[in-house]
């Protein structure tokens, strides 16, 4: 992991994350994901991007993805 070089790793701090999903979700789902931005990526992928309050909030978000049964490709913090 090269995380330390790229950003502060305080787990309690709000950070911008990008979640990649397989399949297209329309931007109408933004509200469902607490106002995070929903964009289309390449190859029928969806990107959910936005600030997540802390690790607990991130896990909650992943649970929402899980409960939709939509396949998860990656989760990464971005600057």
């Amino acid at each position: 992991m090269s995380g330390k070089d790229d950003f502060e790793t305080d787990p309690d701090q709000s950070m911008v994350y990008q979640i990649r999903l397989k399949g297209c979700l329309s931007s109408k789902w933004s509200k469902w994901f607490d106002g995070l931005t929903i964009t289309q990526g390449d190859n029928d992928e969806t990107l959910i991007t936005g600030a997540v309050a802390d690790q607990a909030a991130l896990h909650g978000l992943l649970k929402q993805v899980r409960d939709l049964g939509i396949p998860l490709i990656s989760v990464k913090p971005i600057k």
């Binding site: 399949g23 979700l25 789902w29 509200k31 469902w32 939709l68 049964g69």
Partner: protein, 893 residues
Amino acid sequence: MRQSRLISNCLLNRGNAIGSILVTKLYIPPLQPKAVLRPQLTKHLNQCKQRKLTLVSASAGYGKTTLISEWVANCKQPVAWLSLDQEHKDAGSFLTYFIAALQTIFKDIGHSLLATLQSPQHPSTDFILTNLLNELTDIPEAFILVLDDYHVIESESVDNILTFFLENMPPQMHLVIATREDPHLPLALLRGRGQLTELRAADLRFSHSEAGEFLNRMLGFELSADKISLLSTRTEGWITGLQLAAISLREHENSSAFIESFTGSHYFVLDYLIEEVLKQQSESIQSFLLYTSILDRMCGSLCDTVLGSPTGTGQKTLEYLEHTNLFIIPLDSERCWYRYHHLFSELLKQRLLQKSAPLAGGLGVAELHIAASEWYEKNDLHIEAFHHATLANDIDRSLRLVQGNGMPLYFRGAVGSVLNWLRTLPGSVMDKKPLLWITYASVSLGSGEISGVEQKLKAAEAALETAVQNKMTRDMTGQIASMRAIVGVTQYNPEIIKTQSLRALKYLSSENLSSRTTSKWTLGQAHLLLKEYSAAKEAYNEAISIGKTSGNVLFSLLARADLGSLQEWDNQLHSAAETYLQILTLVGDQPLPVLCDVHLGLARIFYQWNDMDSALQYADSSIELARLFENTIDRFITCEIFRSHLKLVAGNRDEAASQLAGIARSIQQNNYVHRIPELAAQQVVTLITQGRLEAAAQVAEKHVLPIHAAQVFLARGDTSSALKKLEAFQAGTDTASWNQEQLKAMLLQAIAIFEQGEQDWAVRLMDKVLTMTEPEGFIRIFVDQGIPMCRLLSETAVRGIMPRYINRLITAFKAEKQENEEIQGLIDPLSQREIEVLELIAQGFSNHEIGEKLFLALDTVKGHNRRIFSKLEVKNRTMAIAKARSLTILKPE
């Protein structure tokens, strides 16, 4: 039906006329008429059911529940089902439902355990699990327990319960877990041992041929292999996707066009299909689906309320949805409760949110939750009402529901939910509402997290400082003090308890009877610790009397129990027994930790009254109760010691001694040092009975037990040493009150003096003791002192002191010491009936008249006369009257 009623009766506060929600969680989902049958998979499951665990782990929508319900419907074994939800995160709640589920197939399983789980203070989880496993081991047949939706649990304590369970499960039991994510159980270990069967997404996915089978054979479409393949590829064999596609297909006249546009779209399968399905419904069905998606479960009247539709069409709509297969699942056989397929409801909720700038005349999400909350409240389902109030983010409503009417929600099985809610509230919101801090502190206190209480009370105080002072803020100040007093009780700190209790009583509103009950009880505790016994009694009595109307059952019970033990200590055996028995009546079948002391108290009282059967019964039940509760664990030592004394008195010396040795070991192992004096005292009594006087003397000296040391001296015939010990003891005690220790000391003193030949003095002492003990019916305190006491009593009776009472005491001696000739040779006491006959003789009535007065046959009266003459060693009526008067059995003329 009978069974479900049985279960709902066990779960206090959870049943109601609408039909118990509990039962909906235990209902095995019925096979849908057009469900996808998976014969290969069910066959595989059948072959593996001798293993411990079947894990069906896959994302939402893979047909896990349907598969398992198909399998268990045909597996020819008893099957119990538990659909888990948020509520089961708490270990106590999980165990309650776990047992309730098992009761649907074995109705006698775990009844007492279920009752203990319903009481506000649970016994330890280990205790419940061990006992439950023991009960399950006795079941002869193989059976299955299904835990559906295990992913919602996310609780380490529940994971631990299941891990323990899997390790110790009897072989005839098979556990099935359906979940969206792998549970934290020792799966690798189970896999290694060949005890785990797994079905995962890859196994559950439809093959092209299964998709064809489903669409063409089951649903009657006539789709070509190409189209089937397109659909199957687009949905990736995802069952829910295929089912939604099938619903859309049904409504499309041109199936090719639909398939083309569906498979050509890049949108997430469900996102696309849900839109299709909704489009095909009428507007009213669409709103119904969207609005009711906020409900975890639905019944007709609840749907009507949420939709604000007075027409009462809810039930009909639900039946219509079931009929058209719109992802709705019945939750009971009466078709009262339903729920949506989880995934379907998620999708609906998203649609609702999207539209939450409400449709014209429509409703916002929060308003829907409020409506649901109101419906649940009206139907006395307060936990559900609270749940929807929190989802509506209505803090006032949530808080009001938590507070309840005298009985807060967190005392009714919702500790976990309430704590979770409070934890999510930001500090700034809490600071604006000090009552939130107070509630937070109170929940923490109630769930035993004492250490965090003070910090929350401080926050509440700080929040109160900025608030406008009024009647309510004064009451809150009172509540804060009341909780500090309880914390003081756990720390045995009388000063803090007293100060805070008095402060609480000063500030609490006169209507806050619940907190006033608590504060009166804590005040009583302070007086008790300060040895201010009459003040303590007064406080307890007040707590009891306020508690009658406050609904604060727990603290008024504690007050009663403490009052009972004070009365017992004060030798008021009758009042104490009455207080204790009242508690048992009030509590019914609920086991509470406080009952341990109550049963032990009753055991001691009945023992004192020489009712050995009752004493034994209460002693046994006190031990059972003591073992139920972890935090009272050292109380069982006291109960066991008393139980061994009963053994000793029943003549089983060796057994009593070996029991004591066992108790000594467990005291040592657990370091219960403060129980050592009790143990030592009983050891002395046992050693004396065994004739091991040297050892008895050593124990009494080592543990500084003056009364017991005196007993040993008396047994050795060393009366002057015994008297010295007793005088030293009496010098150190408060003679204003007469507890049983002091009574016993006086009796031993009387024996010693009597043996030294000072008969008059000894009888005077006896007179004093008997006067105190007669009204309360003491027997054992005399009988336990042995033959010298019997001699002394006989002498006392001859002097005409309380002959009737002494008659009873001597009868008890005779019954117990049948082998002792000296005792058997004493004048036989007259029976109550014989005394009645004698009184009538003295009044000059003939045998015939006596018979008429007492409704006795003439022969019976004559029989009584013969026995009276023989007991009094006289030959006729005149002599009998004279002798009886000299013995003061009859009043002097």
